[in-house]
Amino acid sequence: MLEIRWHGRGGQGAITVSKILALAALRSGKYAQAFPEYGPERSGAPVRAYNRLDDRPIVLHSGVYTPHRVAVLDETLLEAEDVCEGLAPDGVLVINTTRPPEAIREQTGYPGRIVCVDAAAIAEETGSRFANVPLLGALASTLDFIQLPTLEGALQAFLGKRRPEVVKANLEALRRGYHETVALEAVAPETLPPRPRSEGSRALPPYYALPIGGVITPEIRWFPKTGGWRNERPVFNEALCVNCLLCWAHCPEPAIVVHDRLMEGFNYDYCKGCGICVAMCPTGALTMVPEGAAELVAASVSPNPR
């Protein structure tokens, strides 16, 4: 049995490609499962999807903990999650990135085979829009039992009656993803520098240590951190702020830091990037920038003038 884990963000199509892959596997004579790990509907939050592929009927319905392949749709997830968790050294890490596989190895410390594909650029150039289809191509290229034409057929089945140019763009993106990968072969794990084990979101407290009733108190704010949901962040231009505190009052998370009635900025551990504060700010002191952009961008025109 071969197990696969897909990492994406809500809205990037990880679940869809897991289903396309399962269909292609079925048509290639394998039993297949595709299943998501859904949270609340929240665009931008980390989501996972899984596949199981086997020659025999698959009866297992538990989670996937030791995948043979991991596919990462969004490079920023390397910060938010331990994407290599449970991935055996003889597996493959497939990632949508502009960087070379050496850089990914350095960042993740994964000693196994690493396959990089610039899926975002392929999606852009072909007009397929989403990185998921080229990444699917790249992942499928690591599976010897699925041929490209079968995969194309499965993709077409999913696209259904979309406009011909959409179908064409996606098929093109799939093919390019399949062929345009850059791979780095596995090395012996001992040859890599030792890495500190990440604390991991899985180190959770026992039931009796939780405040009752699901209450979240100031002391336990550390555990349900929502900062990892973000792919855009609000930034603050102090010069334009009139300290009306509308942003503070409307932020759904404890993410706006206020002292002595003065707005001081953000606690990014909890800012989930919803943009409500930006929408509320009457002076344009807040603006959203893509995650990873320089912090000093600030709007001079309010999106919400009064």
Binding site: L204, P206, Y208, L210, I212, G214, V215, I216, P218, P254
Partner: protein, 399 residues
């Protein structure tokens, strides 16, 4: 015929069960009572609202547009830090159920008298326990009472029980619709200051309005936390088995009214045959037990006060070694045994076979069908014949 607490004639008043409960509410003086009228609960809140209007107690009554809203407002007020009560019955409880689960999971110590009534349809306003059984797995503590006196006393005790830091769960005090809510009997109230001193002040654990210690309440749980919170809730519920007798003891000390244990055992110790009931039927059953005893039959009664959590071990001990037990269910679990029967069966299964009584299940009194002494006598007589097959029987329905 005995009562656990006998109202003294010189001190008793003629009160309906609804009035008795309303007086308990007045003495408790909850901060907030969101409420929607539904038969046969209506007179409880009518009486109470009159007392509030007359300035006899300082409570914010919220008139809402449905029971779903009543419980929602109750949860909101409770997490804000208020002492909250409401009351309901039948369809009203059915409409509340969604939010009652939330009240329990958010650990809101809301005390709620429930005027037991059948569930629709056909529409029926009369007594049975279908509504209480609907709330069986909601996470609310459930107490059943036999008469107006018990309904009054247990409403006061319910506040202490609900607000105990080891519990913090909603508590439902069941009183049979009409049979108790609308029937006037002698009830002895406590002096106001005694009742008030007993319930004391409520100190909420995480008041939402405490801006010095802000909290998030009612959040979302993923699979990695939900189960832990449910386990906490279950342990709190099981903890009631410890707290309930403590509250009874405290009540006895404060008032001299001696309720003891999870159930009342009436002429049970030396009985060979027993009947198990909830609510007002227990009174009728006592009369039957006395009559059959006069005829030389060794019969007894187990009347449960506490239904959730269910005191399995104590019940097993009480029924250990009896020859046969008749479990009386005033509700159906369609296609299964009655809800009380399944609990009793679960309780007795752990006994050694020689000590395990034969068990029989009788459904009775649905939709207010009168519960006569004859029916209970029939149940207690039938189970004495070891050849009586173990199937669920309907008492008092046309064959």
């Amino acid at each position: 015929m005995t009562l656990v607490v006998t109202p003294r004639l010189e001190a008793a008043q003629l009160l309906t069960g609804a009035q008795a409960v309303a007086h308990a509410m007045r003495q408790i003086e909850p901060d907030v009572v969101p409420v929607y009228p539904i038969t046969p609960q209506t007179p409880i809140i009518e009486e109470f609202a009159q007392m509030v209007a007359d300035g006899r107690c300082d409570t914010e009554i919220i008139n809402v547009e449905s029971e779903h809203s009543a419980m929602s407002a109750a949860v909101g007020a409770s997490v804000a830090g208020a002492r909250v009560m409401t009351a309901t019955a039948s369809q009203g409880l059915a409409l509340m159920i969604e939010v009652l689960y939330i009240a329990a999971s958010m650990r809101c110590p809301i005390v709620m008298p429930l005027g037991n009534r059948a569930l629709s349809g056909p529409i029926n306003i009369h007594c049975d326990h279908s509504d209480a059984m609907l709330a069986r797995d909601s996470g609310a503590v459930q107490i059943f009472t036999e008469n107006g006196q018990e309904a009054y006393d247990y409403t006061l005790m319910a506040v202490r029980l609900a607000e105990d830091q080891r519990v913090l769960l909603p508590v439902i005090v069941n009183l049979d619709g009409f049979t108790l809510t609308h029937s006037a009997e002698a009830v002895e109230l406590l002096p106001d200051e005694v009742a008030r001193a007993f319930v004391g002040h409520y100190r909420p654990l995480y008041p939402l309005l405490d801006t010095a210690r802000p909290t998030t309440q009612g959040p979302f749980d993923m699979p990695d936390f939900y189960y832990e919170h449910k386990r906490q809730q279950d342990e709190a519920m099981r903890g009631v088995l410890e707290v309930f007798p403590e509250v009874q003891r405290a009540y006895a000390e404060a008032t001299g009214r001696n309720y003891r244990g999870y159930y009342e055992a009436y002429r049970l110790d030396d009985a060979d045959f027993a009947v198990v009931v909830l609510g007002s039927t227990a009174g009728t059953a006592k009369v039957v037990v006395d009559t059959l005893r006069d005829e030389g039959q060794r019969v007894g009664l187990l009347k449960l006060w506490l239904f959730r959590p269910f005191p399995h071990a104590a019940v097993a001990e009480a029924l250990r070694g009896k020859q046969a037990v008749a479990v009386m269910d005033r509700a159906l679990s369609f296609g299964s045994w009655g809800p009380l029967f399944t609990e009793i069966a679960a309780a007795l299964y752990g006994l050694p076979e020689a000590k395990r009584p034969r068990l029989h299940n009788f459904t009775y009194g649905l939709g207010g069908r009168d519960v006569t002494p004859d029916q209970i006598a029939e149940a207690l007589t039938r189970i004495q014949d070891p050849r009586t097959p173990a199937v669920m029987r309907y008492l008092g329905v046309r064959a």
